[in-house]
């Protein structure tokens, strides 16, 4: 059983060594090595289809690598004691709310299933977390009644409830309006400050990435192109990376 939420959580360290993964003969991850330090906000950027989601699934042990390993506090992520000892959470790209449950039940699922709180306490926590993500009072709604962005926010609330030591966000702001994006970015940062959770954020959102990141890794075609502090990554000479960071729509050029 997991430690109780009152136990002071501390961020987990993550080490990735020689990670390789192929699907149907196509190599998606081509040997990744990096470390995420306890308590830092680590942002993974990269073009669509570069393997970011696949990488995240390896980091939390949902997918087994073909080669290499992922270590959480020096233990293999797929060993049973990691799941039992540490609290980890993932916010999926699509939200991945359970469609048969209400939003409130979804958000409180972890506490209810593991019997960590009484139903009354869970209701309070759920209401609180839903308010944090701007979904106050939508406990009784079904996930199908929510928009894409609302689903994602509910999924973030569900992860917040776990009070994790490691949290993975897959594109947390991709479907949100600019204002909600800022709120979510603030919450990612605040959660990190409050409980020292190690946060790994996959995002295309340059404002979010450079706003919250302690370090950034830029992935392209299954390889790390650049890794370092936001300033280091911004100064990196690689042309593709520069294009990605500075891309903007210029109507004059498009017309020509």
């Amino acid at each position: 059983m997991h430690s109780s939420p009152s136990h002071p959580p501390s961020g987990l360290a993550l080490r990735v060594r020689g990670l390789r993964k192929s699907f149907l003969g196509v190599e998606v991850l081509k040997g990744l090595d990096f470390e995420v330090r306890p308590g830092e906000i680590f942002v993974i950027m990269g073009p669509s289809g570069s393997g970011k989601t696949v990488l995240l699934k390896h980091l939390i042990g949902l997918t087994r690598p073909d080669q290499g390993e992922v270590l959480v506090n020096d233990r293999p992520v797929d060993s049973p004691e990691v799941m039992e000892k540490f609290r980890m959470a993932m916010v999926f790209q699509s939200g991945a709310l359970l469609n048969s449950l209400t939003v409130g039940e979804n958000v409180g699922l972890y506490l209810a299933e593991h019997r960590l709180k009484t139903p009354a306490e869970i209701a309070l926590i759920v209401a609180d977390k839903l308010e944090v993500v701007g979904l106050k009072g939508s406990e009784e709604k079904m996930p199908s009644e929510l928009s894409g962005g609302m689903k994602k926010r509910a999924a973030i609330a569900r992860a917040l409830v776990i009070e994790p030591q490691l949290i993975l966000y897959d594109e947390p702001t991709s479907e949100l309006d600019p204002l909600s994006s800022v709120v979510i970015a603030e919450e990612i940062f605040a959660l990190n400050q409050r409980i020292g959770v190690t946060s790994i954020v996959v995002s295309h959102d340059r404002d979010l990435a450079f706003g919250v990141a302690d370090r950034i890794a830029f992935i392209n075609q299954g390889r790390i192109l650049a890794i370092g502090t936001p300033a280091e990554v911004r100064a990196h000479p690689d042309p593709l990376l520069q294009e990605f960071l500075n891309a903007s729509f210029k109507p004059d050029q498009a017309k020509e």
């Binding site: 997991h2 949902l62 699509s94 991945a96 699922l109 593991h114 999924a155 776990i162």
Partner: protein, 247 residues
Amino acid sequence: MFNSIGEVVLLFWRTLCAWPHAWRQRQKVYDQFFEIGNASLLMACILSLFIGGVLALQSGPVLAERGLANLIGGIVGLSMCKELAPVMMGILIAGRIGSAMAAEIGSMCVYQEVDALRTMNINPVHYLVLPRLVAIAIALPLLVVFSIMTGWFGGAIVSASNAHIGVSLSAFFSTLKTFVDLQDIGNGLFKSFCFALVIGTVSCHQGLQTIGGPRGIGRSVTKAVVNSIVLILILDYFLTRWLLIFD
């Protein structure tokens, strides 16, 4: 289908090991149980009534020609409870409930809900498979009791109302009573219990195996139903042989 039997057996074993968690999941067991009842009770009733009726209609006149019409109660009685009710209900439930289980779990797989459960350290076997298996293992035998009763009733009505048979209700049921004993009904219920485990495990296994979007869900549903029915029919033969030892 046969290469996945090992996986199905493994899933069944895991679910058995999760048995101590069944009480915790009782709410979900109730929900599943009522869903099964709701979805299949009326259909089971109609099906059994007509199966019992047609059984009497086919065998009644043949028996009556030879002056054996009074045996009809025994024939309908025994065939309903030993064979027809368990197998018919098994096939009905495989189509009605097995498909629903595979579709529901399959879509949860495709839309990453199962992954989400795993990241919350919630075991999908405890959360999804166990309640469904418990519910179906209780519901199917109950449904078979119901089916046996309506089947007998259907046979009795046809026997009494058909001019070529002409066996009264009371005569029908008194021969039935001399032919059918509790052990015969027990046999049928035991069979249906085994079928329920097959349907539940095969369907949940197919659901959990689902890959590749809505098409994958469709494939899983078809496989769940077809594999369950094939396994039921094969298992029925061997269970019957085995149960004959105790007669």
